[in-house]
């Protein structure tokens, strides 16, 4: 079965399974464990114009079926990323997606503009949804007007495929998606993490150095599927789904809910090679469920597709 995914502006994935931003480093780290060239794509850890220090530790905490993190978008800045990490990703043979962050609209734009001069960047993912920073970040993802402004600013400086990543921590992620698409986003990726908190009972304080953190992993899968299902109905562009994917059946769920491709995050910490196992298992899993091609399953659980097929 042909696993190729054709996305806007000529972005073509060898298969629909990509590494989610922040869980696969800036590229080289998992090189010894994973045959990166076989992944559908890799979204690198969020990059800002200048280095960001990140939040005080502890930065991760296990929760039931999930993981809280408060990395705070530590990154070495775009220049170091381009010099140190991009060459490895470019050579790896996978599709390279750069996750873009900033404190201001102008900062997002600067990263996008700077990347325009670099070969080997296949798409940009505009992260307007990270819950782990105080200024900027998530607030852009909570207000349609700001989401529009950031997307438009990035769109103005790049011809590369642009996806905008949604926050689930609001009443209607679909409205943010609409704003981003109106401003020129080619795709929507969803979801980023849910804001949560854990208590360190022993020390009688919030467990994370950053106090609150972002919840990911299997625990959030139902929320992620709901957002994908809503967004896929709200906008006409492809949706990249993620949140709690741990096995191939989870991928089927996201595709049925309307995602054209998926990203896989937290499970990689336990099983670096799970993404490859999922890729290997996908054709058979599709066949078992009666699908003879990848496009056939995309959105099959959406009301529109259900009407078509009479199910």
């Amino acid at each position: 079965m042909d696993m190729t995914v054709r996305l806007p502006r000529g972005l073509t994935l060898a298969n629909p399974v990509m590494a989610a931003s922040g869980t696969f480093g800036f590229g080289p780290e998992y090189g010894a464990y994973v045959d990166i060239g076989r992944l559908g794509g890799v979204s690198a850890k969020g990059v800002s114009p200048d280095p960001w220090p990140g939040n005080p530790p502890p930065r991760v905490w296990e929760t039931p079926g999930g993981l809280l993190n408060s990395i705070g978008l530590q990154n070495p800045g775009i220049e170091t990323f381009i010099a140190q990490d991009l060459p490895f990703l470019r050579e790896s043979g996978t599709r390279v997606i750069v996750n873009v962050i900033g404190h201001t609209v102008e900062e997002y734009q600067r990263v996008a503009a700077r990347l325009e001069r670099e070969p080997g960047v296949d798409a940009l993912e505009i992260n307007i949804s990270c819950p782990n920073i105080k200024a900027g970040g998530m607030s852009f993802g909570h207000d349609p007007d700001q989401a529009y402004a950031v997307t438009q600013a990035v769109r103005a400086v790049t011809d590369r495929p642009v996806m905008v990543k949604l926050s689930p921590n609001i009443e209607s992620p679909a409205r943010i998606a609409e704003a981003a698409v109106a401003a020129g986003a080619d795709m929507i990726s969803a979801i980023n993490t849910l804001v949560g908190l854990a208590i360190d009972r022993h020390n009688r304080r919030p467990a994370l150095g950053g106090v609150t953190g972002g919840l990911s992993g299997p625990a959030v899968k139902p929320v992620a599927l709901r957002v994908v299902y809503e967004v896929a109905q709200a906008v006409a562009v492809p949706v990249i789904g993620m949140g709690g994917i741990a096995q191939v059946e989870d991928v089927l769920d996201f595709l049925m809910a309307g995602a054209s491709a998926v990203m896989v995050g937290t499970i990689t910490f336990q099983h670096p090679n799970r993404m490859l196992a999922i890729i290997d298992g996908l054709p058979a899993a599709l066949a078992v469920h009666g699908f003879s091609s990848l496009p056939e399953i995309v959105g099959v659980a959406l009301p529109t597709r259900r009407q078509e097929s009479g199910r």
């Binding site: 780290e29 464990y33 530790p57 502890p58 930065r59 991760v60 993190n69 937290t266 336990q270």
Partner: protein, 253 residues
């Protein structure tokens, strides 16, 4: 080489109530440097980092010794000989080779002791080692016999005085340091202990093996950081890949 391995547990030892040591059959792990660790797959959403307590290239085994503190270590304590565990490893940067001709002291607190035994096991033949080992109570003084067997000069402390000197390792350690102004120090244990050692060893050759909550264990997620001195002020370094062993003077505590 670091990788993901399913390794057979050759033997299970119980060095004390609440402590378990697993001997793992693995030529790859047997190449580890003392101070390195494995990231062990347990139920839950994260692996568990545990240092090597012994490393033997000759028998192609490496061991890990841990205290049962929560769900992950409780699960691991239930693994029987002959069963398999999945690990990532060997991970991180271990201790450097001790400089010959300098007095060498390893200072361990509680479950910080095992990686120091691995160091003495590896290098104790070349450089005579003193060991200052502490714990809250006598039960926490693991591997003492192993050190003794190798002829290590031992000083023991317990917070409650139930074995060795009453108090922390810092007392005997400072005495040792005064007696060995050129001495080199390897330490592992609770953060306050390590902070005390870092403060006492300015200008000395001192290496600390740190702990931090980890995600990936291989440098990708930036979870496991500690502040270190950088060229342009303090920055966060990853314990898993830039450590867990750091020169004491690098730490920006």
């Amino acid at each position: 080489m670091a990788g993901e391995y399913d390794v057979v547990v050759q033997a299970v030892r119980v060095p004390g109530s609440g402590y378990v040591e697993l001997v793992l059959e693995s030529p790859e792990l047997a190449q580890a440097v003392p101070g390195q660790f494995v990231h062990v797959l347990t139920p839950g959403t994260l692996r568990r980092p545990i240092s090597f307590s012994r490393i033997s290239a000759a028998t192609a085994t490496a061991a890990i010794l841990f205290q049962v503190v929560g769900a992950g270590t409780a699960w691991l304590a239930g693994v029987a000989a002959g069963q398999t565990v999945n690990v990532l490893g060997p991970l991180g940067h271990g201790f450097p080779v001790p400089e010959p001709g300098r007095a060498w002291c390893v200072v361990g607190g509680g479950v910080g002791i095992p990686p120091l035994f691995a160091a003495v096991q590896r290098w104790g033949g070349q450089v005579a080692a003193s060991a200052i080992l502490g714990a809250r109570t006598a039960a926490g003084l693991v591997m003492v016999e192993d050190f003794a067997e190798r002829g290590t000069a031992l000083t023991l402390t317990t917070d409650d005085g139930s074995r060795g000197e009453a108090g922390t390792v810092l007392g005997p350690f400072k005495r040792w340091l005064r007696a060995h102004p050129d001495g080199q120090v390897y330490a592992c244990g609770p953060t306050p202990m390590l902070a005390g050692i870092a403060a006492a060893t300015r200008g000395h050759r001192a290496f600390l093996a740190l702990e931090q909550r980890m995600g990936c264990g291989i440098g990708a997620c930036l979870a496991c950081v500690v502040p270190v001195h950088g060229p342009s002020g303090p920055r966060y370094a990853r314990v898993c890949s830039e450590g867990p062993v750091f020169a004491a003077e690098r730490l920006a505590w």
